[in-house]
Amino acid sequence: MKVKQLSIFLENKVGRLLETTEVLAGQNINIRAMSIAETSDFGIVRLIVENVDNACKLLKMHDFTVEITEVIAVEVDDRPGQLARVLRTLQDNNLNIEYCYAFVERNQDKAVIILRMENIDKSIDTLVNNEIKVLTQEELFK
């Protein structure tokens, strides 16, 4: 029930993000979701792509520092209150969120919330026990 996310280290300089996306585009790798955490001199780009392992190897070949991070993908209805419900559940169970971001599904009225948790296994159990849908890697890309 864990999903693989790509984490890439980039200096906060002109052209770095462009080069990253061009490398992926060059091998037809589609980005489903993206989040960037930045500081004044560097940033971490987090991507959800389908063939994570290939993408990782590809970026490494181009001398990027990249890592695969395990995250949780939660699916909810795309309507008000759904994100709050998920966060409430996690908080009530003392589960710490490192970061999160979200995107909407294409063909349905669903949204996906990506969560990086301090304790991923306990978080998955808690979400499942509270009837919140946790996606597998395959379900994310169906």
Binding site: T39, F42, D63, T65, V66
Partner: protein, 433 residues
């Protein structure tokens, strides 16, 4: 005035007798009391009896900074611990600092040579010395202090930093001599101007500057901005601290106290003594020190030596030129000795892996700045911003603790730092020294 007229103006052939006697004594002393020297002499087939005069000194083996490091902390002491009254430490090439120590007599010697230095620089009764060299393990602060006490000239132990207070006391106490690093003197002058007062209007008349290399241009700048005479002092803690040599009003070389610290200039590659007047590595033998006597210590500083009598002050003690460079990659940043290898050790210890790094050294508003750019490879990367920030802080903190130097750390992408064939160009020094 000349502090020790008989020595400082002694004809050199007469001085030679004193140096020869002292060399014979010190050679016997280290052979008997310092296991490192016993081994070194034996290994090089040197019989103590072969050293009959100062002219035989070239027969003796060299001592290097790594020998002090290998004998850390107290392996080079020639006397028992009860006789050691003061211990200092300075930068080592890797993890451990270089330890130096003094017996009571060594402290008296230090005070004597510093007294000579202050007088060579023009200090006299009635002066007030503001000592802005750091007090503590650094030998600069206490060295000047002991010298001042010996001369009876009033001293204010300001230590370094606290610039506004330095300027206030300078005016309120009417200090006349400033002792600090040359770059700090410019920094103070800039602060003064920014706060609406003119450095030219202080009662300062002399500056004794050292602990880092500085050019003639810098001297002119300091003299102009402060309206003082700016003179160079040379020293290194392994030999005694400050007080090995001092520049006189002639501004044409620093008189080295060769009755205690015997100089030779060698070719750093071949180890052979060079002809008089030529440049080379300064090698010093301590003729009278008790706690850590050193035989032919390679300082790493490139200078030339001048044996002619000084026109300006009449002293016969030979003069070394201003330091023209180093034989190794040691840098001096804000008066502190830094070896790039120390930085490498710190980085290696953090993750057990050696990242590519580069040191960018610059000088802004007269203060040296140092930035370390570290390439973030897989060993150093983490998906969380806070972990990368913590890594930055850790590097900063570890370097500060090893070097006592505050550095800026930048994390950069792999392969973004230039690579070179052969020895990596780790240091980019943008300062115009």
């Amino acid at each position: 005035m000349i502090w020790d007229k008989s020595i400082e103006s002694m004809p050199l052939d007469k001085l030679k007798h004193i140096q020869s006697d002292r060399l014979k004594n010190i050679v016997k002393n280290v052979y008997e009391n310092v296991p490192f020297y016993k081994r070194s002499f034996n290994l090089n087939d040197i019989n103590v009896k072969d050293i009959k005069s100062i002219d035989d000194i070239h027969k003796l083996p060299f001592t290097r900074k790594t020998d002090l490091r290998d004998n850390y902390p107290f392996g080079m002491f020639a006397v028992p611990m009860e006789e050691i009254v003061e211990i200092h430490a300075s930068s080592g090439t890797t993890g451990n600092p270089t330890v130096v120590a003094y017996t009571k007599n060594d402290l008296k010697l230090w005070a004597t040579v510093m007294a000579r230095a202050i007088c060579i620089a023009g200090g006299t009764k009635g002066d007030i010395i503001q000592n802005a060299y750091g007090y503590g393990l650094f030998t600069g602060g206490l060295g000047v202090h002991y010298g001042a006490l010996e001369t009876g000239i009033t001293i204010v132990p300001m230590s370094s930093g606290n610039t506004m207070k330095q300027l206030q006391l300078m005016r309120d106490f009417s200090t006349t001599i400033i002792t600090c690093t040359p770059s700090y003197s410019l920094f103070m002058a800039e602060e003064a101007l920014e706060n609406g007062f003119n450095p030219k209007e202080t009662t300062l008349r002399i500056g004794i500057f050292g602990a880092e290399p500085w050019t003639e241009q810098m001297r002119k700048k300091i003299e102009e901005i402060w309206n003082i005479t700016a003179l160079d002092i040379y020293g290194l803690s392994e030999i005694i601290g400050p007080g090995v040599a001092q520049e006189c009003i002639g501004k044409n070389g620093l008189h080295i106290f060769s009755d205690h610290f015997y100089p030779e200039i060698i070719d750093p590659v071949t180890g052979k003594v060079v002809e008089n007047g030529n440049e080379g590595e300064l090698v010093i033998t301590t003729l009278t020190k008790e706690a850590i006597p050193l035989i032919r210590y390679r300082t790493g500083d490139i200078v030339s030596l001048n044996y002619t009598q000084c026109d300006a002050c009449g002293r016969t003690l030979p003069r070394i030129s201003k330091v023209k460079g180093r034989t190794d990659d040691m840098l001096i940043i804000r008066g502190i000795n830094v070896f790039p290898s120390q930085i490498e050790s710190v980085l290696l210890n953090i993750k057990g892996a050696q990242p590519h790094y580069q040191l960018i050294i610059d000088r802004r508003h007269s203060l040296d700045t140092i930035e370390i750019q570290v390439e973030v490879d897989e060993n150093f990367f983490s998906d969380e911003i806070k972990k990368l920030e913590m890594l930055k802080q850790k590097i900063k903190k570890e370097i500060d603790s090893v070097l006592s130097l505050s550095v800026d750390v930048s994390l950069v992408e792999p392969k973004s730092l230039s690579r070179s064939v052969g020895k990596a160009k780790r240091v980019i020094d943008k300062r115009n020294l």
